[in-house]
């Protein structure tokens, strides 16, 4: 993983390939790599869909090695949704395969002069870029089936669906899983629109003939990996709960805690929660011959993913994640698990962010476009997005644009990006993260829910203001670092609670690269990444006034606890200026 592949999609004649050394970007991976390239090379005031923006893909520092859990891939660019810097990451196979092919990053630059659509094939012999207009407006599942026919089943793909081609703000970038299904998405911020603006439909990766990346110190690496896996297996969340129920085990607890945004953030608890809970979802999967315990990439030992079959026992979609079940479920007043699974399939197929899409439909329901609880109407609205009708184009603009078009006041976004599945009034730590993350409202940027609700990494009362600033700050720093390693963020449940598992992670990095990183170095790495991202946003015109939640969160009391978001603006400003 010692080179960067740059493709100028706007070069005269044909796209031009350049392969360079790592140079200034040596030692970076994942989010660290994407944010470094974007902040250094992309003019912050450029239009996100213009030739000046760059679309960066980077596996993590440990991706492609024998290390467990190292299959996350990051994509980065200036976001068409937020107007700021964006990093979105996903599991699936591409991180491991791209890293084994030796690339620390792929950078798509420029913009084709016409509307020709390209596919990029990369294997051990090199790179082949071909125009292929037969792929136009293919949804992801059909596209990947075609790639399988053409290139065989040893490939991993990074692709956009119809939403990306239409350059919608909700468009995601799909990554294929172990079964070569386009189910793992870099979802947030409209990254799919930027890939679409480069005229690239799909990147096909084949690492046949390449070997696993070798660590500098093999024995030390092997020992660290064993301790790391033991730690993950020992922790009750990563060893038991996530494999048994998946992420959707959170539906019941958030609804019980009064922090489950319901009917477009009007209430904090959903009467239908038990019908769409992780417990019910896992049971349905077992009954129908699906599988509630499945890894999204080779080397995953947590296996929080799953396979969701329809009533007749046929594959419908991967196990919908908690955020998806919430966005399309309780937030829209829908308590029909099969309808939510269908929405998950449609989102993956058209290539849209399930969080932004669900939040947008809830805003549309608030506007009276459909009734809360009407699953059929929600399915039809997502189909409009896939088709690109005028209504679909509006909804494809995301929650903020839909709110403006239809005159809705209650629009739960920060920096234009929709909030995920935790109400910031009743889970105040995550509210601090939503407000201050350079990414816009993003739960993964500093998952205070762990400590506020799940009592992982200690306990900070979710309903009180005390301790939330420091909690969010520390988690945002740690997350920026973890997002650079290629590690799945869920390792944090074990790493936060077990110092020896954190040490095993450090030892993996040290043995891989021949380094002597300490906990302090990890903090430094996280701080540096956040500083680069915030610097980009500042140059793009963001001020501290953008680090705020919409006003209604401090004015409308949330049931059942009758709480508002009451963390002071000057305290929010201390997250990055302690």
């Amino acid at each position: 993983m010692d080179k960067i592949l740059r493709i100028d999609m706007g070069a005269n004649g044909n796209p031009k390939i350049t392969i360079t050394e790592l140079g200034d970007y040596a030692g970076l991976g994942g989010r660290g790599m994407t944010s470094a390239i974007v902040s250094k090379e992309v003019p912050p005031l450029c239009h996100p869909l213009s030739s000046e923006n760059k679309f960066v893909i980077a596996p993590g520092l440990l991706s492609g090695t024998a290390s467990a859990m190292s299959g996350r891939i990051s994509v980065g660019c200036k976001s068409p949704l937020t107007g700021g810097i964006k990093e979105a990451n996903a599991g699936g196979q591409p991180a491991q395969v791209l890293a084994r092919l030796g690339y620390a990053a792929i950078v798509l630059e420029g913009k084709p002069v016409d509307d020709t659509l390209y596919k990029i094939y990369i294997n051990k012999n090199g790179i082949k870029i071909s125009p292929d207009n037969s792929l136009k407006m293919l949804p992801n599942y059909e596209l990947i089936a075609k790639m399988r026919d053409e290139y065989g089943d040893k490939i991993a793909c990074i692709s956009i669906g119809t939403a990306g081609e239409m350059k919608m703000n909700v468009a995601s970038v799909a990554c294929t899983d172990m079964e070569l299904r386009p189910t793992r998405h870099c979802g947030r911020g409209g990254v799919g629109a930027v890939m679409g603006s480069k005229g690239v439909k799909v990147i096909i990766l084949d690492d046949t003939g390449m070997s696993m990346r070798a660590p500098k110190d093999k024995e030390r690496f092997k020992d660290a990996n064993k301790r790391f896996v033991d730690g993950l297996m020992k922790h009750p969340v990563t060893g038991k709960a996530l494999p048994a129920y998946g992420t959707n085990v959170l539906t019941n607890i958030l609804s019980e805690a009064g922090g489950y945004p319901t009917y477009n953030f009007k209430e904090g608890s959903f009467a239908g929660a038990s019908k769409i809970s992780g417990e019910v979802e896992a049971e349905l999967e077992k009954q129908r011959g699906g599988n509630p315990t499945h890894g999204c990439h080779r080397g995953c030992v947590i296996r929080c993913s799953g396979i969701y079959n329809d009533k007749d026992g046929h594959y419908l979609t991967k196990q919908p994640e908690y955020e998806t079940v919430w966005a399309h479920g309780g937030n829209c007043g829908i308590d029909d698990m099969d309808a939510i699974a269908m929405l998950d399939y449609l989102d993956d197929n058209y290539g849209v962010d399930t969080i932004e899409m669900g939040a947008t439909i809830a805003v549309a329901m608030d506007a009276g476009i459909a009734k809360f609880g009407d699953a059929e109407a929600a399915i039809n609205l997502v189909k409009e997005v896939g088709k690109g009708s005028y209504l679909g184009r509006i909804l494809g603009g995301g929650a903020a644009i839909t709110g403006k078009v239809f005159g809705v006041e209650r629009v739960p976004v920060v920096k234009g990006q929709a909030m995920p599945a935790y109400d910031p009034r009743a889970v105040k730590g995550i509210g601090v993260t939503y407000a201050t993350s350079p990414m816009g409202a993003d739960h993964t940027a500093g998952y205070a829910v762990a400590t506020n609700i799940l009592k992982v990494g200690g306990f900070v009362d979710p309903l009180k203001s005390e301790g939330q600033i420091e909690l969010s700050r520390n988690l945002q720093i740690a997350t920026a670092a973890v997002d650079s390693t290629g590690m799945c963020l869920f390792i944090a449940f074990a790493v936060l609670d077990q110092p020896e598992t954190f040490q095993a992670l450090l030892d993996l990095l040290n043995a891989c690269y021949g380094l002597n990183l300490t906990a302090d170095s990890v903090v430094e790495l996280g701080k540096n990444i956040l500083a680069m991202e915030r610097d980009f946003n500042s140059r793009a015109g963001f001020t501290k006034e953008h680090d705020r939640l919409p006003r209604f969160f401090s004015q409308e009391k949330l049931l059942p606890h009758q709480v508002v978001f009451d963390i002071k603006d000057e305290d929010l400003d201390k997250v990055f200026n302690p």
Binding site: K240, A241, L242, V249, E256, E279
Partner: protein, 74 residues
Amino acid sequence: MKITVKLFATLRTGRFDEKVIQFSNNITISDTLKEIGITSQEAAIIFVNGRHAEFDQVLYDGDIVSIFPPIGGG
């Protein structure tokens, strides 16, 4: 007095999802756990009426107690 006890995830196995249980006055969460045969290690997260609670909290008539094993996601 009557207490509603809700169990989640693995705690349901061999027990129940939700049950109204009659107790004498002045019992604590620890007493309730003993009554339904759940250890303090198993009960990682406990809410009383949607608020985090500790083992020694005293319960009152009509309280809803929600008990979770260690879980995570997101």
